[in-house]
Assembly symmetry: C2
Homo-oligomer: 429 residues x 2
């Protein structure tokens, strides 16, 4: 006879009818799913009920805590310095983690940045860094701890030991039309960040065509949910809502994004990348108790670059080595003179993906030199025949499908339309 | 590479967001589920989306037609007489099929009544008939056809060849909290009735404590959905909404329900059982083109009883054989004098089930002589110490748990409260 204290149908039915699932029942549901007692079909039905009916703030905290309890929990308490992490919901040309982690660490704060690989049109931080000869993503917990202690910043692969139940649930949601449930998105992102053991967290929640959330209202709901969840779980959390309707910076790919990141660390680089790096660094340092840190000076004075070099070397990378260059390039020029009025992030992301910068399946390899370099951005004046952007790939057979994706993705007109600020809102507990 | 024309996530997402699933996509979904290409988890998520978002009339027709297409389809066209069937959503003491099928057949109409076994607190028609020595539920399609031709009425087990996809979907819904989705209930019931090949169908949709639908509004919605579905699928369909807050008749069990049915066929029996039998027979005969058939005369004149005897004999049963009698009985008496004001169907159904009349799992056996005989009904005057009802079982150890279920299930007061009519509404296309 079963000695299970709850029944999956009872839990599903409570949520299905708009009720609140009691804490002990919700913890049991996640645990029983991890053990295989609750089936994929039952969990999929529950996930759809959550998508339709939502979850209360406390249910999300409990669900997340149960996810964390399915695996190991790290702690950086013995480091003797504050830890602060950042998470972006993903966008096109989003390389911010690369300059940001060493910049924040240059103020004596530890930045344990567990990252992932890209899937679909948004790139992955580890894929970008793997453009650097020798650099390795996989670190043991001890290596990570030592690097945080010595260098202050680490960007590495999240081990499979953190919130394994989330990994299984995410794979299930992916095939059952339940990815979009905000309580489950929040719980999935935050369970790994909380299990990682950071003291504080800054979220870059993006909206617009190149973001997972197209709509600012949904992005705000996700940001508010995650800020509440972090706060309730003892992690000081702030979120910025940022515009992802235009690619971030001028580089979309892997090696070219590393190059652009190094420009930022050298005090240069595109204005939007610098603006967002500085804004996120200020939020992270404020949560670490350094609200008055002079972030711009650390970029312009080389302190952030010193940490970058040490961070890359600590993971066996050579920060001075040449980055891979593409075998084939194709330049797209302006067909008329005028002002660039639109450059849609999503098609540029898809085009870079098709050029080889991203992967369709988890087992695919990325081409580090593939991608797109923009030579103009919305608001810039261009003359007919002037280069607008360059496509790069290992094989020129890839250009046609990339250009298909870019059909109608940019526009040249008389005057640029007004665009709002990059950082649109700030959400705190 | 897959050559599937649709993707399960696409179908789930359309329904999840409140859209209409196109006909070809919905047919593919059911077919791919039957083939095992669409997983249980995907179908469970889809079922929950249907429960939350509903389905349009035409989607329900397509879904049902796809269920039918998963198996065989019978035809009685060669019989040369109209066919009409009846389905009840199930209740406590609901033996109406037993007198109804021979009564309707006595007018020259064929009644192909494919029935099931009971599970939980509602009894199964086949379980009741198996109280009769020798009677067998399993007939081949040819035997069924021959009996419809010769006798006119057949009550037998539905073969597994009708709508097998429905069987798989029902089992999945049972464990994923999606049983209650009205479009799926309607599709499940009607797919088997339509595949059976009947020309016309009368539905007895019950509401109240002893029914699957407690609430009359939900029962009406189900009835309207099924009438529309039958009509759209070429089966003339009418529904009656009937009250199931009080047990039907005086007998709850198996052998005792057969005894009560024979009383009805002899022109006697409890008034409510006769009333509902007559009302449903009139609807069935009207759909078969005989709106003026004198139904009461066929009960009082013995024509219905003649068909009953022939029908039981055709399936190797002996209509004159003694029915099983219980080993143990326990009489419950009135503790005070007054009028019976309440007798709740659900606890009486659960008590009969616990006495052995029903089964908890499909593989359990029922005790044919177990059950409850009522000696008074709401509205009847009783004196203190007078017998109210008798429990019957094979083992007196069963009485305690049955009496637990009956705690507070009846009341004796000063005057009976008004109850509405048994047949509350009639729903037609």
């Amino acid at each position: 006879m079963s000695v299970e204290p709850f029944d999956a149908v009872q839990v599903i039915t409570a949520k299905r009818d708009g009720g609140v699932v009691p804490e002990d029942a919700l913890r049991w549901m996640v645990d029983a799913f991890t053990r295989g007692y609750v089936s994929d079909a039952q969990m999929a039905s529950f996930a759809m009920a959550v998508l339709q009916r939502g979850m209360e703030r406390d249910e999300i905290r409990v669900m997340t805590d149960a996810m964390i309890a399915s695996g190991e929990r790290m702690s950086f308490a013995k480091l003797g310095k504050p830890t602060v992490d950042k998470h972006s919901t993903g966008g096109v040309g989003d390389k911010i983690t690369l300059p940001l982690a060493p910049l924040v660490a240059s103020f004596g704060v530890a930045v344990p940045q567990l990252s992932g690989r890209g899937l679909g049109h948004t790139g992955g931080t580890l894929d970008k860094l793997e453009s650097i000869p020798g650099w390795r993503a996989a670190l043991s917990n001890q290596e990570m701890f030592d690097q945080l202690s010595d260098v202050g910043a680490v960007i590495c692969a999240a081990g499979s030991g953190l919130a394994p139940a989330d990994k299984r649930l995410y794979a299930l949601r992916d095939v059952t039309g339940t990815v979009e449930a905000i309580p489950l998105i929040a719980s999935s992102i935050m369970s790994k960040k909380i299990a990682e053991g950071t003291d504080a967290l800054v979220l870059d929640v993006k909206f617009g065509s190149g973001a997972f959330m197209k709509d600012i209202d949904r992005a705000r709901e996700l940001a508010e949910t995650m800020v509440a969840l972090g706060t309730d779980s003892g992690v000081a959390t702030t979120a910025l809502l940022t515009d992802m309707s235009v690619p971030l910076g001028l580089a979309i790919g892997n090696a070219n994004e590393v190059r652009e990141s190094v420009e930022i660390l050298a005090g240069g680089g595109p204005a939007d990348v610098r603006e967002l790096t500085v804004a996120l660094a200020r939020e992270m340092l404020a949560l670490a108790g350094l609200p008055d840190a002079d972030v711009e000076a650390a970029l312009d004075g080389g302190q952030a670059m010193d940490v970058w070099n040490a961070m890359i070397r600590a993971q066996d990378g050579d920060p001075d080595a040449a980055l891979p260059v593409p075998r084939e390039t194709h330049v797209v020029t302006a067909s008329s003179s005028g002002v660039v009025t639109r450059m849609e992030a999503l098609p540029f992301g898809i085009a870079a993906w098709r050029l080889g910068a991203g992967r369709a399946r988890a087992e695919d390899l990325v081409v580090h030199a593939a991608g797109i370099d923009l030579h103009a951005k919305p608001g810039d004046r261009v003359e007919a025949g002037q280069a607008l952007f360059t496509l790069s790939a290992d094989d020129d057979a890839r250009f046609d499908r990339a250009l298909d994706a870019l059909e109608g993705a940019w526009e040249i007109g008389d005057a640029a339309s007004d665009v709002g600020p990059l950082v649109r809102e700030r959400i705190t507990a």
